[in-house]
Symmetry: C2
Subunit: 341 residues, 2 copies
DNA sequence: TGGTTTTCTCGAAACGTTTCATGGTATTTT
DNA sequence: AAAATACCATGAAACGTTTCGAGAAAACCA
């Protein structure tokens, strides 16, 4: 039993009512030339009266463009509650509104062998924002596929392969520099470092920056001052005790993410130590939570909304301009002084 | 200059290679009967080799179904950083994966006169989750439009009109009851109440529950103990001073949202008062931030992920079962004891 | 005025699917 | 062995657009 016979207004309905060919209506709807002003106006009026709304799907089919931005993020059941991602997505959403595009979300189960290109093809996505790739797998073939098929895309964050692609990230080196400089200015010489996910783009970069700069600022160089986390709260909690039980304890902790810093803070407080008096803590990201923990976390702000917005901007520019050179945008981080240092 | 001539594998390419009609390939791809096993297998093999992936857009066009869930949320520049919404969205995303649907986001600018139905029609959305409607405008016509055109939908949270529709919400009355019972058990008799947005579904419900129950628990009944917020942090900050400057100060504050509670806490701490010793604070929602503030906020947990998931479930059931009666699901809240009480 | 150019409108084809009536082949029944 | 039935595969039509070549009408020019 069909319940809903009522069908929507199409271009043909308008054509019939106006007594013209439906192709003419199409021209009017797309604001193309070669239609006399009089007829154009008449058609517009009728379309308005009938409440016409173009069917984007039919449009997509023929143009092979979807007016859609697809955000592809790694399979992670809690993706949406990581406020780091959220702030980026907010930026993306703003950009979508600016360009009058719909926003689609896909989580990519790399294990199932689904590729970025397949997603774009399946849904006719023409702009893709690729988030936080896990570099355990080589994705240069994925990129080639997107390229070959005219899909425009940007990476968030930095793309690690050697192809030239659009990507937006924070200037990690500068971020680490600001952080260490601040710690040094407070008289710290022995700084523990909780490193981030080694399979991400940001993790290794921050680690390298730390290694290079901690020497420059004259910090102690013991290897045991660095522990390996993966950006999560849990890893901060897990690794912090290793730093606390060192014979010679650090006076400050620098974590490569706020979540790890917050996890570490929890351990430190549990040990009865006071932050920042007994041990200073510094994070990286400036996620929402950083402002709420006690004491509020001093951290390096990434301009996350801006990053999301710029990622879309870049992809759009690539699309509109044949000769636009894909580029990597490294935005400036900023010190957020709060009470944990 | 066309750069990308390469075109994707279609059902026809497969048909040609297999030497059959493309309609036969279609049958195979959709797992329909009436194709001999031998041929089916042959076609599947070829499709696999060629890396076929169905074009959902063409599919949508003909079936008028999009395999898409559209989430429509109110125009709000910071929608995505409100973790309350996020946790719901996480649930929606989980459900989408379960049902193998893509997730689309739309912010509805009610002022521009865009309607829910227009969005669904434009993008051929067939399942819609309508979030946090602002009831300053009557939307019963919108609902009728959706109905008339066979669009299935759920409200989040409760729908206030008289039509029978799918909606998912938390049992506000029970939540308020649990909260006040707990406050009463701690000996509080004078409780300040910061009410939520009066144009939402939850705001008035919680206010009414408060009014009814605070009497039952024997709390003071001064009108001045209730102030009017709108769920935001800022409104909590704004309204709290009115309660602090009362001749007879309340011993506890109950806010209709965590954000307002956190805003209130800030004001209280600034006045040099200690929480919970000088004044207890209780929130509602259990957003992410509640666990991070100092002292951690005692609050009423809404099962937000579950709510998102159930909203999709309901819409799907309506779609699959002609006779399914639209229903309102009121999920049970839960007391999160933390340190602010 | 007659021819040429420009402007406007139209009809047909295409996009990649699904659906459905039709007919052909294989299998069963009598 | 012929008739009836089941099973397969097909080709055409449809979904709502855009595009494009062609014809008709209008405008221009000499």
């Amino acid at each position: 039993m069909k319940r809903f016979e009522k069908t929507s207004i199409t271009i043909k309905d308008i054509a019939k009512k106006a007594g013209v060919a439906h192709s003419t209506v199409s021209l009017v709807m797309n604001d193309r030339e070669h239609v006399s002003p009089k007829l154009r106006e008449k058609i517009l009026k009728i379309a308005n009266e009938m409440g016409y709304m173009p069917n984007m799907v039919a449009r997509s089919l023929i143009s092979k463009k979807s007016s859609t931005v697809g955000v592809v993020f790694p399979e992670n059941p809690h993706f949406f509650t990581i406020t780091y991602f959220l702030m980026i997505i907010e930026g993306i959403q703003n950009a979508c509104k600016k360009y009058n595009r719909a926003l689609m979300f896909f989580s990519l189960d790399q294990t199932k062998g689904e590729s970025y290109y397949q997603i774009s093809r399946k849904w006719l996505i023409d702009l893709m924002i690729i988030m936080n790739v896990d570099y355990t797998r080589d994705i240069s073939k994925d990129i080639q596929d997107l390229r070959d098929n005219g899909i425009y895309f940007s990476f968030l964050t930095k793309y690690l392969g050697k192809e030239k692609v659009n990507s937006v990230c924070v200037d990690n080196f500068e971020g680490v520099r600001i952080a260490l400089e601040y710690l040094a200015s407070q008289g710290h010489k022995r700084v523990g470092f909780i490193a981030g996910n080694p399979n991400s783009a940001d993790g290794p970069e921050r680690s390298q920056a730390y290694k290079a700069l901690s020497r420059k600022f004259g910090f102690d160089q013991d290897d045991e001052l660095t522990v390996q986390g993966d950006f999560t709260f849990e890893s901060g909690e897990r690794e912090m005790p290793k730093l606390l039980t060192l014979k010679k304890r650090p006076t400050a902790i620098f974590a490569a993410s706020d979540y790890m810093a917050i996890g570490a803070m929890r351990v430190i407080k549990e040990q009865g130590l006071y932050i920042p008096k007994d041990m200073a803590v510094m994070g990286f990201d400036n996620t929402l939570e950083a402002a709420y923990v006690e004491p509020a976390l001093t951290t390096i702000r990434q301009p996350l909304q801006e990053m999301g917005e710029k990622a879309v901007d870049l992809a759009i520019r690539s699309m509109n301009d044949e000769n636009f050179e894909p580029q990597t945008l490294a935005l400036k981080p900023e010190l957020m002084k709060r009470r944990s240092c």
